[in-house]
Amino acid sequence: MLAISRQRILGQCFQKIRPAVSELRSYSSAAKQITVREALNSSLDEEMSADPKVFLMGEEVGEYQGAYKITKGLLEKYGPERVLDTPITEAGFTGIGVGAAYYGLKPVVEFMTFNFSMQAIDHIINSAAKSNYMSAGQISVPIVFRGPNGAAAGVGAQHSQCYAAWYASCPGLKVLSPYNSEDARGLLKAAIRDPDPVVFLENELLYGESFPVSDEVLDSSFSLPIGKAKIEREGNDVTITAFSKMVGYALKAAEILEKDGINAEVINLRSIRPLDRSTINASVRKTNRLITVEEGFPQHGVGAEICSSVVEESFAYLDAPVERIAGADVPMPYAANLERMAVPQVEDIVRAAKRACYRSVPLAATA
């Protein structure tokens, strides 16, 4: 999978993308396929045209058409006053975005990857997340921080960390992570319209993947509710929760498990904060087994929180220990074979599901 994605990344940068707008106009009955990139681009386009207070800010979002081409065409359409190319000062421009949001605008701040958001995290947490509380509701911060999160292919330790757990632990922030094009469109629109600070964690390897979308999704008023997970695949035997790229892996694992007679239910979390505990718990009460899958570091991760929630609310319904699949507890190595071992693979999910179903697979470490 990584090999294919690698070529895709190289290909993307040279690829010219058809404008998403033309696709929206032709309402044919066949399910349309759009890439996540087109979904994000069209959402930004529609939200910017609907509300003049929305503006984009980030490195290379304008003339370069976006470091990953997500903001392609937006500079031509909306001009340099609404699509701002910033110098390389994350702390500075994030702060400027937050200040603009305090005072009434709706910025969408792009981080080239969420690793760079660490240079700006003071503003995300202290200036954006906490202000509504500190000001007793007077200052709301309708800002969206978006960008690719998590591991890409061969980009090394400082470009591969997943920040879902870090941001999701902070009250005052909403943290969303889409998987397919429908999620990307719906959640980004919801995030931009939301009056609170939203951290929108995309995935670089998913940008080029196409997914079918219905006409409803392509409509410009489409949005998804924040805080609701989606059951991607119904099942009875084991629940697998995942977000972002791991949803794809979980679905593949579910197909493999189907052949072995294990019927897996795959939940696409969509929203890390607020976590959709009711959907997860309802699912666990149905299947009695839980596997959480994430790409980030295991300690204090999303899976840990889900496990806690299930133990608190549905302990009596669990038939097996909760299995937590996460990335290896090491900074991401560069060597290709080590990197494959440091990120969960479909086989890891399959093995964990079988363990949870007591199908006598020896306990092997994620590495």
Binding site: L10, E63, P87, I88, G92, A152, Q158, P333, A335, L338
Partner: protein
């Protein structure tokens, strides 16, 4: 007396003249005792920006050094050995980077690879003046800094291929080259990240001399970074502290005018970076970064200033990268006319011309060096190809320097002193 006149111009750093064109700025930057030694540099204009000259104890040495380049003055700047050393280093950098591009497109290298073509003069000009114990801190564009500092081409190539024989055992990659032996302190992905690290290394050097009383410790640190970094807060914080504490560091700005697709002029309120030095109390120098001899002259003075304990210097090298930001960058925004202007000033061709015209070496000797470097690079690729990938057990190693956390091993010695201490700690 062309020779002596040239010499006087040659060492502009000792000339206490100060040209000013804006009177209101003179007072704010007039020489003060704080500056310590005599390092007042003469001002010269930056032709590329076409901006009215401002005053300051800040100079562009380019003009001064340019004046003494007449061919009749023999061997002013370098000896034959030095010339060949510089040439070999630059050719190694160029050949290596070209090979990296080939290997990337063949799929042997992956991820982010940022090539240094065109900027070799800066790396060679500065790093070849350093001792082994001096440290270099770089950014993601660090292959050539590693090579200039002495990391073997084989180790760098293996690292890029992700093999266990690489300088970081395949765990770091293109952007994270480290070498304890050669004091290459990284290789950082975030721009600006290396500057505080370099400042810290310089602090260590000063601390060793003054607190630990290692009287002959005069190690200097060089921090390399680009024009985009000069808008980042960390840069200014470190300029302040380095000047405040008189740290032995040289801040080298490789101003190649572009940060991915963002032009320096579009992102900076005042594009003349060298002027930011005097604002913090250190000399700021602008130099033509496409000419290795000029870079070397400025570097000599800046490094010896640091070694003498006089504090930091900010050197802005006007240079250019011939390729895109990385191998995945389509490089559509740069004007081809600009590219060809700079390609005409290729530092390797310029040095070759100088060497031949000054009769320091013959064309045949230079060709022999070219051939030798080609062989070195080919050998590096072969070595990297044949090297094994890291074993499974390596995944969990090196997270901590002292994995067990207890500090003392069963034999009563500190665990970290046992060369084999990471073995057996991987749980797989």
């Amino acid at each position: 007396m062309a020779f002596s006149a040239a010499t006087a111009n040659f060492n502009p750093l000792n000339t206490p003249s100060l040209r000013s064109h804006d009177n209101h700025l003179v007072t704010s930057v007039s020489p003060s005792p704080f500056f310590g030694s005599t390092a007042k540099l003469r001002l010269s204009s930056s032709p590329k920006f076409n901006v009215h000259r401002r005053s300051g104890s800040v100079v562009a040495v380019s003009e001064a050094v340019k004046e003494k380049k007449p061919k009749s003055t023999p061997n002013l700047l370098i000896t034959k050995e030095e010339g060949l050393e510089l040439y070999e280093d630059m050719v190694l950098g160029r050949a290596f980077e070209d090979m990296c591009a080939q290997m990337y497109y063949r799929g042997k290298m992956f991820g982010f690879v940022h090539l240094y073509n065109g900027q070799e003069a800066v790396s060679t000009g500065f790093i070849k003046l350093l001792k082994q114990q001096d440290s270099v801190v770089s950014t993601y564009r660090d292959h050539v800094h590693a090579l200039s500092k002495g990391v073997p081409a084989r180790a760098v190539m293996s690292e890029l291929f992700g093999k266990t024989t690489g300088c970081c055992r395949g765990q770091g990659g293109s952007m994270h080259m480290f070498s304890r032996e050669h004091n290459l302190l990284g290789g950082f992905a975030f721009i600006g990240e290396g500057i505080p690290v370099a400042t810290g290394a310089a602090f260590t050097s000063k601390y060793k001399r003054e607190v630990l009383k290692e009287v002959d410790c005069d190690h200097v640190t060089l921090a390399f970074f680009g024009d985009g970094t000069c808008n980042n807060g960390q840069f200014y914080e470190c300029l302040n502290m380095a000047a405040l504490w008189k740290l032995p560091i040289v801040f080298v700005v490789e101003n190649n005018l572009w940060a991915i697709g963002m032009s320096h002029l579009r992102s900076t309120s005042d594009p003349q970076i060298y002027k930011k030095g005097p604002a913090f109390g250190m000399p700021g120098v602008h130099v033509d970064g496409m000419d290795v001899l000029k870079v070397r002259e400025v570097a000599k003075e800046a490094i010896s200033r640091a070694r003498r304990g006089e504090g930091p210097t900010l050197v802005e090298c006007e240079t250019y990268r011939f390729r895109g930001h990385s191998l995945a960058d389509p490089d559509e925004l740069r004007d081809p006319a600009e590219k060809s202007r700079y390609t005409a000033r290729d530092p390797i061709t310029a040095l070759k011309k100088y060497i031949i015209e000054s009769n320091l070496a013959s064309e045949a000797e230079l060709k022999a060096i070219d051939k030798k470097i080609d062989e070195v690079v080919e050998d590096a690729v072969e070595f990297a190809d044949e090297s094994p990938v890291p074993p499974r057990s390596q995944l969990l190693e090196n997270v901590f320097a002292d994995p067990k956390g207890f500090g003392i091993g069963p034999d009563g010695r500190y665990r970290c002193e046992d060369p084999k201490f990471t073995q057996g700690t991987a749980h797989v």
